[in-house]
Amino acid sequence: MSAATITTDAVKDVKGDARISPRAHVRHTGALIRRNLLWIRQDPESMFDAVLFPVIFTLLFVYVFGGSIGQSLGGGQEAYVQYVVPGLMAMMGMNMAQGVGTGFNQDFNTGVMDRFRSLPIGRGSVLFAKIAVELMRMLFATVVLMIVGVLVGFDITNWAGLLASVGLSAVFGSALMWVFLTLGVIMKNAQSVQAMGFLVLMPLQFGSSIFAPTQSMPGWLQNFTDYNPLSSLADAARGLMVGGPAAHDVWMTLAWSAGLTAVMAPVAIHKFRTKS
């Protein structure tokens, strides 16, 4: 895109010692992770959502809807606990994705991104650090969810399955993150990113099998929920954690993750690179 040319032959050594070594990448990412962790220390309230989200959602769904939805599952509230906790776990990845998007947007708006971009660091470092910290938040929220879950009667039968679910949720969250990164780069402020994310995620979350089985939904909605990746993710988590068929849903989730990344990652990276 640039027609800028060098007339001197001297500039052949374009790469030279300009390459950033893997060790330097790790160092840069480490320094930026420290920055994001300091944010949390400076502003502990930013962890509220990670703590409160699993608590409120678990209590709300188990005690408000648990009894009636549980009946349709052929049990009661206890049956619903087994149903909804893996579903909520599937949602943790989404919060992570949203966090990366809004955080990125804030950096662009404060001018600190200019500082980073004028430093001799790989641009990926800023992104990797954000992802690492949001992953930590996600794991923290998952632990809280499990504690609350167990307190309301969730029975962890399969620890390996639990870990696999966390992993799957993180994979899907990372794929979804590219969507939020794109939003984060193109939208004016963090509030718009959050509002936009809410508008997109709300129908996806509730139009899925996260909170309730889809059998009783009207046909057109079932068509939607069947192809909703969040349904796949929730059903996969359920299969992995409490038993039942999981393979198909795991593959579906992975396919969705790969597809989202393939389409949205180039868009996000392009928008990031060309943002002036």
Binding site: M1, I6, D17, R19, G30, D114, P120, I121
Partner: protein, 342 residues
């Protein structure tokens, strides 16, 4: 490492070389063929009103955006082809302090040190040093958000000095600061220049350019309209005046009358300033200046001081562009990208 040799004939090396730089934003030409040379160890002031293209220039020179055409090298590194090497030798202080407000001052500097590949120990030591130097030691542990405007700018300056840059960009470093804080920042900038850093300073303030820069490039609507040493520029647009202060203020009137008799400078343009006890006489040539001094001596008037004064930069700008630098320009599309952080 190959570098372009800017020093073919032994003159002072050029730290920043810009040739025919063009940058469009849609229909707006933010830069329309800019040439610029900043000699090593000097301060170049880039003076111009809002939307003149100053920030666009700095953003290209710090590799934040790419030019549409033209060429620019900083410390011998090309802005387009060698951005990573270039980033190692520059420091950037934007008009909007680009520090992380949520982080304490010390943490800001430490982070930048680590990003510049200093070891932990080096980063710690340098952060302490710079906080001390910019009088921020006491505020080191507080989040930058709690800092006053001046403290934030000082932290921003400290941040841009972490990597011991050879070229420093100061993009309107005092915009939005009160006069006292502005003086504080000026003092710091002068100290940095004393350390031998080459500085490219953009400003809308004539006074700032006069205070800090030795050379000046005046830009307007993406074009360079004048450049050179500040005093040369002022001399070029003419209007030199002589300020004479007689030892005895009572001799002001007789002195004015004597000059009037001389007949070369009309009394109409000679200003008697009773407040400072001085006489301001416009002079058009060296001969006139000699004649005036001769007339004063012939009358036997004792002088306390006699100085030549050059016109203010505002007047320079007016005579160069035909409009005042500070006046709103209705005909010019103000480029929003120019002065608003994106």
């Amino acid at each position: 490492m190959t570098r372009i040799d800017n020093n073919p004939d032994g003159r002072a090396r050029s730290a920043v070389t810009v040739r025919g730089l063009v940058k469009h934003y849609g229909e707006t030409k933010a830069l329309d063929g800019v040439d610029l040379d900043v000699r090593e160890g000097t301060v170049m002031g880039v003076l111009g009103p809002n939307g003149a293209g100053k920030t666009t220039l700095v953003r290209i020179l710090s590799t934040l955006i790419q030019p549409d055409s033209g060429q620019a090298t900083v410390a011998g590194y090309d802005v387009v082809r060698q951005p990573r090497q270039l980033r190692r030798v520059i420091g950037l202080t934007g008009q909007y302090a680009s520090v992380d407000e949520k982080l304490p001052g010390w943490e800001n500097l430490y982070m930048i040190g680590r990003l510049l590949d200093l070891s932990r120990k080096e980063a710690r030591t340098r952060a302490d040093e710079l906080l001390e130097r910019f009088s921020l030691t006491e505020a080191a542990k507080r989040p930058a958000a709690t800092y006053s405007g001046g403290m934030r700018r000082r932290l921003d300056l400290a941040a841009s000095m972490m990597g011991r840059p050879t070229v420093l960009y100061l993009d309107e470093p005092t915009t939005g600061l009160d006069p006292r804080t502005r003086n504080e920042v000026w003092t710091e900038v002068k100290r940095m220049v004393g350390d031998g850093v080459t500085v490219l300073l953009t400003t809308q303030y004539m006074e700032e350019a006069e205070q800090l820069a030795s050379e000046l490039t005046v830009v307007d609507r993406g074009k360079v309209i004048a450049n050179g040493a500040i005093d040369d520029l002022k001399a070029k647009v003419g209007g030199r005046s002589l300020r004479i202060r007689p030892a005895d203020p009572l001799e002001l009137r007789p002195l004015a009358a004597a000059l009037d008799e001389l007949g070369i400078t009309g009394l109409a343009t000679t200003t008697v300033d009773t407040e400072t006890g001085t006489l301001l006489v416009p002079v058009l040539s060296d001969e006139q200046l000699t004649a005036i001094v001769g007339a004063v001596t012939a009358r036997g008037i004792t002088l306390a001081s006699i100085t030549t004064e050059l016109p203010s930069l505002d007047e320079v700008f007016l005579s160069l562009t035909g409009h005042r630098a500070s006046a709103p320009q209705d005909a010019v599309p103000t480029d929003a990208r120019e002065e608003v952080p994106v």
